[in-house]
């Protein structure tokens, strides 16, 4: 086969027109997802069953089903219910962008809360006991001792989830959004050149991933600047 370089050069700028939408999806659902994850985490470790059990169910459902199915249920399924279309959420759910944000947020929230829980559980018991011995209250111990260490412990896994969220944004193209993937699919449908187009798209996503990794690498280093290097 012939690799059509001219087509690649021609289509990369077109696909980059969708990078804004890809980044909006990433940042908005990333931020909302993180907020949701923190709430879920607090409910999960609250020690009260009526908070912890619903959280566990929620996390099980959203981690246990494909995100594509979740997107389709939110986009195509919910509007079938009349009360959804009459509710105050309809302006958000009417727009494919709103649906994508909701689906990505709910999904990433479930994953991230488990990542954060891993961080919290990883904090050495002795440190908390030391805090108690110093007379710190439980909330204080959580905020000043557990949290900073838990964040440091959770960061590597969290950066992984951000990369995976970035990749999931491509699924928004299935609900009519013209993010980079949506534009690429349209070009492919017109030019019948999947190889050239999707490989160029891959390169763009890889560059994005590189930026995410570098950013988290920098944050990790900064957050560990008081810790003696172990590696």
């Amino acid at each position: 086969m012939i690799f059509d370089i001219a087509l690649i050069i021609d289509s990369i700028p077109k696909m980059l027109m969708g990078i804004g939408l890809t980044l909006q999806l990433l940042f908005l659902s990333g931020a909302l997802g993180l907020a949701l994850a923190i709430i879920l985490l607090l409910m999960r470790i609250s020690g009260r069953w009526y908070l912890a059990v619903p959280t566990m169910v929620y996390i099980y459902v959203f981690r246990g089903t494909p995100i594509l199915v979740q997107i389709f249920i939110i986009y195509y399924g919910l509007p079938q219910l009349d009360f959804v279309r009459e509710s105050i959420f309809w302006p958000i759910l009417r727009e494919p962008f709103g649906c994508a944000i909701v689906a990505l947020t709910l999904n990433t929230g479930a994953y991230v809360s488990e990542i954060l829980r891993g961080g919290v559980l990883g904090v050495d018991r002795g440190l908390k006991e030391a805090g108690a011995a110093l007379g710190l209250s439980a909330p204080h111990r959580f905020i000043y001792i557990t949290t900073p260490i838990a964040i440091r412990l959770a960061l590597p896994a969290y950066s992984n989830d951000v990369v995976s969220l970035m990749k999931s944004t491509a699924l928004a193209s299935t609900i009519t959004l013209l993010d980079m993937m949506g534009i690429a699919r349209t070009i492919v449908a017109e030019t019948y050149a999947p190889y050239e187009i999707f490989i160029s798209l891959m390169v763009i996503y890889l560059i994005l991933t590189w930026f995410i990794q570098r950013t988290f690498g920098w944050i990790e280093k900064r957050m560990s600047r008081h810790v003696k290097s172990e590696v």
Partner: protein
């Protein structure tokens, strides 16, 4: 064993003989899928029925030929025609440049068009009396289309004012129209009727445009396929199709399945 052999030989002989005997009239063998409702399909009684079948019968009646239908899978349709397994393809086959390289087509007996579907009584003035779109009135309207189809081509070039939303499947078009995410959709009117407008979901919707048939986008239409070099037969087919158009037969065939005519 010998007896069986004799019977078989006899059977083969009879079969060969019957095949050699010339029919009283000319027999036209017609290839179709026999599974493509409502154009060619087997009805509840097991008989072939549909728009293509009616056209075949109408044409044969006019040119005084007997008909023999041959059911053939779509991907082998043209090879079978070229291999002389049948004489005509009347199977909703669109006339395309690529196909014309290998075979010949009669005039069209079915159109290739697009049509807009939207909410009933929406009060939009989208088309003038001559059936031309009024671009300004499309501004701000959301139109659902399938990705990379003739319909999306037409909209991009003729009506850039409209806001186009691209879908991956025909079903999704109807879903989001019902859900109110788009104001209208453009698709094949026959599909729209069969899959949507005639169903419960489509009750509040109707065609909001005339049939749009610009050849540049929508192609020529569906014709009867035949092998190259049969110009005399082709002329007779065209004459028959002309008669069927003029005497209203084609419209009658269409009205069995659709509330509108589907020929030019």
């Amino acid at each position: 064993m010998r007896k069986l052999l004799a019977v078989m030989t006899a059977a083969v002989a009879v079969f060969a003989w019957s095949a050699q005997v010339p029919a009283s009239a000319e027999t036209l063998r017609v290839g179709m899928e026999c599974t493509y409702a409502p154009f060619n399909f087997k009805n509840a009684d097991g008989e072939l029925d549909g728009y293509d079948v009616d056209v075949a019968k109408g044409v044969a009646g006019l040119i005084g030929a007997d008909l023999e239908f041959v059911c053939q899978k779509w991907d082998g349709m043209i090879p079978a025609l070229l291999a002389n397994k049948f004489d005509l393809i009347i199977a909703s086959m669109s006339i395309t440049e690529k196909r014309l390289e290998k075979m010949d087509f009669s005039d069209t007996y079915r159109i290739s068009v697009g049509r807009l579907v939207g909410k009933k009584d929406s009060g939009w003035e989208l088309f003038d009396d001559a059936g031309k779109p009024i671009p300004a009135n499309f501004a701000g309207l959301k139109v659902g289309l399938e990705r990379a189809t003739t319909y999306s081509d037409w909209f991009e070039n003729e009506l850039p004012e409209a806001e186009v939303v691209l879908y991956d499947s025909n079903e999704a078009l109807y879903l989001d129209l019902v859900n109110g995410r788009t104001d209208m959709i453009m698709t094949n009117p026959m599909k729209a009727h069969l899959r949507f407008l005639s169903k419960e979901d489509g009750a509040g919707f109707e065609f909001v445009s005339p049939q749009i048939d610009e050849r540049k986008y929508f192609g020529i239409g569906v014709g009867i396929g035949l092998r190259k070099g049969n110009d005399e037969l082709k002329a007779r087919l065209n004459a028959a199709l002309k008669t069927l158009t003029e005497d209203g037969s084609l419209e009658q065939y269409a009205l069995k399945y659709f509330p509108f005519a589907i020929h030019q």
